[in-house]
């Protein structure tokens, strides 16, 4: 595929942000600035701008915290750098954010169980689950932030969130986790 092909493909699908690579906190801050600027220029309602930015930051920080492909020591508690992808596109239904990252098989199973339920919940059920999780004393096992990241993403969505867990090419111990939300 030539650069022109890629640019045309992106334009055809109205993708206005695509990053495939290592994510870190500084990269997230800079990308958030770029996305913020773009959304301001589009004159979108503040409410929508906030939802897009919120979903982006949650998704990107999930990659930094949980992706199985880590440049830094996986036990590091800070300044982590991990691999993932994030795409943002304008669709007829709204702005669609899609993220993906490799995960180990036990994480894949945990995510599958959690998201199988979450993707079937109504908005009101999601909001209620969020309120409960906000008040929970401890986050769930394995959580680095309190356990309400996925609920936060789902709460902002205008349609049921979509996810996929796929085999990772060349890595039998890994799966690729992909999540999409439309705001």
């Amino acid at each position: 595929m030539t650069q022109k092909d890629f640019a045309e493909l992106a334009a055809e699908h109205d993708v206005f942000f695509y990053y495939c690579g290592y994510f870190s906190q500084p990269i997230i801050e800079a990308s958030a600035d770029a996305i913020r600027l773009r959304l301001e220029c589009e004159n979108l309602a503040y409410k929508i701008q906030r939802r897009v930015l919120g979903a982006f930051i949650e998704m990107a920080q999930n990659i930094v915290h949980y992706s199985a492909e880590s440049l830094t020591d996986p036990n590091a508690k800070t300044d982590e750098v991990r691999f993932g992808t994030l795409a943002i596109a304008q669709t007829d239904l709204g702005i669609r954010l899609t993220c993906s990252n490799p995960v180990d098989t036990s994480t894949a199973q945990r995510l599958d169980s959690k998201l199988a339920v979450l993707s079937q919940m109504s908005l009101e059920e999601i909001r209620q689950a969020y309120r409960t999780a906000l008040r929970a004393e401890e986050g769930e096992a394995g959580s680095k932030g309190g356990g309400i990241g996925l609920l936060t993403i789902a709460r902002e969505s205008s349609a049921p969130i979509e996810y996929q867990i796929m085999d990772a090419p060349n890595s039998p111990d890994l799966k690729i986790f992909q999540l999409s939300v439309t705001v």
């Binding site: 906190q25 958030a32 503040y46 409410k47 919120g54 930094v64 800070t78 986050g139 309400i148 936060t152």
Partner: protein
């Protein structure tokens, strides 16, 4: 105990805890890589301050964006303030930008759970 002043950054809020004046303010955005590391010492300091005094306290939150982990830590801070508010006056001026549903919702959660705090919700334009 000493006042805490931490200038804000793009991803952490300005912390202006004037314990000596019984005034605590948090403003800006909060999406640090590790919200627990950032907020836990601050929440602990507020808890220690409240345990050591019985003066009325004025608090102000002017928060423009919080990631999910920061939201949870701020909610916990609300719990600390509410517990103290059972025994002395705790006033919270909660600023919300119009159309900022996420901060509005957090305000609603505070009001639902933290009935001892005297709230003042202030809506500001962008």
């Amino acid at each position: 105990m000493s006042d805490i002043h931490i200038p804000g950054t793009r991803q952490t809020p300005t912390v202006d805890f004037r314990f000596s004046e019984h005034f605590l303010k948090l403003s800006g955005e909060a999406y640090p890589e590790n919200a627990v590391t950032f907020f836990e010492p601050l929440n602990a300091a507020v808890e220690a301050y409240l345990a050591a005094s019985s003066e009325p306290v004025n608090v102000e939150f002017d928060l423009r964006y919080l990631n999910s982990a920061a939201t949870k830590m701020i909610f916990k801070l609300g719990g600390i303030l509410n517990k103290a508010a059972e025994h002395r006056s705790v006033s919270l001026r909660f600023v919300v930008v119009e159309d900022d549903e996420m901060v509005q919702d957090l305000g609603a959660d505070f009001q639902t759970d933290y009935s001892w705090i005297n709230f003042q919700f202030v809506e500001v334009a962008l």
